[in-house]
Symmetry: C2
Subunit: 323 residues, 2 copies
């Protein structure tokens, strides 16, 4: 990081600069472009610069493989992705509530140590985000749909303004400003992101093109193709309605299921896989664990109406439920 | 309008309900879907329900033709389009500052009466919007680019969420929420709008498809096609940067050129055509005119640095400049 940016971050309250060779940090958050993540994570772990490591890159499956190839103590790393950001970067773009109530995805796998998860969960909770666990592959499919493809679509629309007259763009209002806002993001970073998740993004954009072709065909003879345009626009309304608002669940609607988890590699990944197989969304998660103890407690917050289902499903799969 | 909606609008301060057969309103603003505009405008003029009429539809050239075909006193009508709106409709969606500093396009033609323009300009100024004049065709080209095509693009993206799992859309953040916000608009209304402006919308969306095809092709072998993705994303940044912010010109940067205009059909249209031919943007316009007087004064506000150019250009074309 440039010294002047580090200085600005510190003045804004980001804490103290860690000096190379100093005592290990309790958790390193590697926030670099996706291509650079495996190298930096490996460096931090190899040099013991931090006890545990997470990252913030928006593609997870490929990274997990690359980190695993490079380091032996991969259990100290857990992939993460905060679902919040701005089209601006650097400390001057910091917002105090950027992460508040936003999902922060974690992708533990069968090698992840409980303490790595516990450290990351503590940090996530401190800044007000909501942890969510899923497999790296599920994550990549989901973000292709709700983040990477929308970014491309916004850029495709904005690109049409490059070669038109000032007079034409002068009529632009809040609508098109919203549609194209994220197109202002760093093109080098987004090229890396989209490249790392190319297959999933391509699947979504192929769907966009199919619908776009229907629209273009209909616009050739619009008088007789109202129904085609209406159909696409109505699907837009229906799809839009499926997006969540601000993280919508109040604490009152939640119940907590507490599960005893042995401190062995793979236990957390198995637990979250079993929760997922039961078709239940975890709204929040905490891990109670003291290093050296053989068993930790994982607290899963779920909507009250699925509490019994979850208790039953986990019991059937051999998990020990507390409380 | 449904009586309960009219009641709500009145309670919110929208004024009094006009009763059929009552004294003519000084200005009727016909705010109905585009297909219904010509019929309603003709009815208002034929019944003398109002002295002058404007509308708020987002497509103008076709409407001007249709209104002209239906009424003899078309000079009492001037087409308008407020460049502001919400994805919600009805009086409960009203916002006090919806029009503030937003462009309100007027498309006078060679038949438009000065008094019709003056009445509409007074209303526009009362609600804080900024009048802009352009030809109906120029208007339609511009809104295809900055309004109608972005609406379709937002709908195309949102439509991809219809058939995916809750788990996948749960990660949606503010970015995709912005990209798809306007896709929530009334699909019947937008079908009409897009249909009425099909040719211009098709031209823009064809550009979108060309770029989308480049992206899809690049995503087949992303490792060797970074440059294609980067190029599209960088064009997105460049296009995004061309959109205006909040109406940007302060009063201090403006100069006023006052032009004497004879009260004859076509004078206003000629004046605005001459201003446009000189390549000068009019930031604001007022008309001082008393009915029955042979000459009105049109005040054109332009950026200070083009004041002399405008004075010269209009003088050369035979206009009488005041002050």
């Amino acid at each position: 990081m440039k010294p002047e940016l580090a200085d600005m971050a510190m003045r804004l309250g980001a804490g103290q600069l860690w000096e190379p060779g100093g005592p290990p940090a309790s958790l390193a958050v590697v926030a670099v472009p996706p291509d650079a993540v495996p190298g930096v994570v490996a460096e931090v772990l190899d040099h013991d610069d931090a006890e545990y490591v997470t990252d913030a890159a928006s593609v997870k499956a490929g990274l997990a493989r690359q980190v695993g190839d490079r380091v032996t103590n991969v259990g100290r790393y857990v992939g993460g992705h905060p679902m919040a950001g701005r089209e601006l970067s650097g400390p001057s773009a910091a917002l105090p509530d950027l992460f508040e109530d936003r999902p922060w995805v974690l992708c533990p796998d069968e090698r992840t140590q409980q303490q790595a998860m516990a450290r990351v969960l503590t940090m996530i909770r401190l800044i007000g985000a909501v942890p969510m666990t899923m497999t790296a592959t599920d994550h990549d499919t989901a973000v292709a749909l709700v983040s990477h493809s929308p970014h491309i679509v916004a850029a495709l629309m904005a690109a049409q303004f490059v070669h038109v007259s000032d007079h034409d763009v002068r009529l632009a209002g809040p609508g098109v400003t919203d549609v194209t806002r994220i197109a202002g993001g760093n093109p080098q970073l987004w090229t890396e992101i989209v490249t790392s998740n190319a297959r999933a993004v391509r699947a979504v954009l192929t769907g966009v093109r199919t619908d776009l072709d229907r629209v273009l065909k209909a616009l050739e003879s619009p008088a007789t193709n109202h129904h085609v345009l209406y159909d696409v626009l109505r699907s837009g309304v229906a799809g839009r309605a499926r997006l969540p608002g601000k993280h919508g669940v109040t604490r009152a609607e939640l119940a907590t299921v507490i599960v005893a988890v042995g401190d062995r590699p793979g236990q957390l990944a198995h637990l979250f896989a079993d929760v997922s197989a039961a078709g239940i969304n975890v709204e929040d998660v905490r891990i109670e664990h003291s290093p050296g103890q053989p068993v930790g407690l994982v607290e899963l917050d779920v909507r009250s109406n699925v509490e019994d289902d979850l208790t039953l499903a986990l019991g059937e799969r051999g998990w020990r439920i507390h409380g």
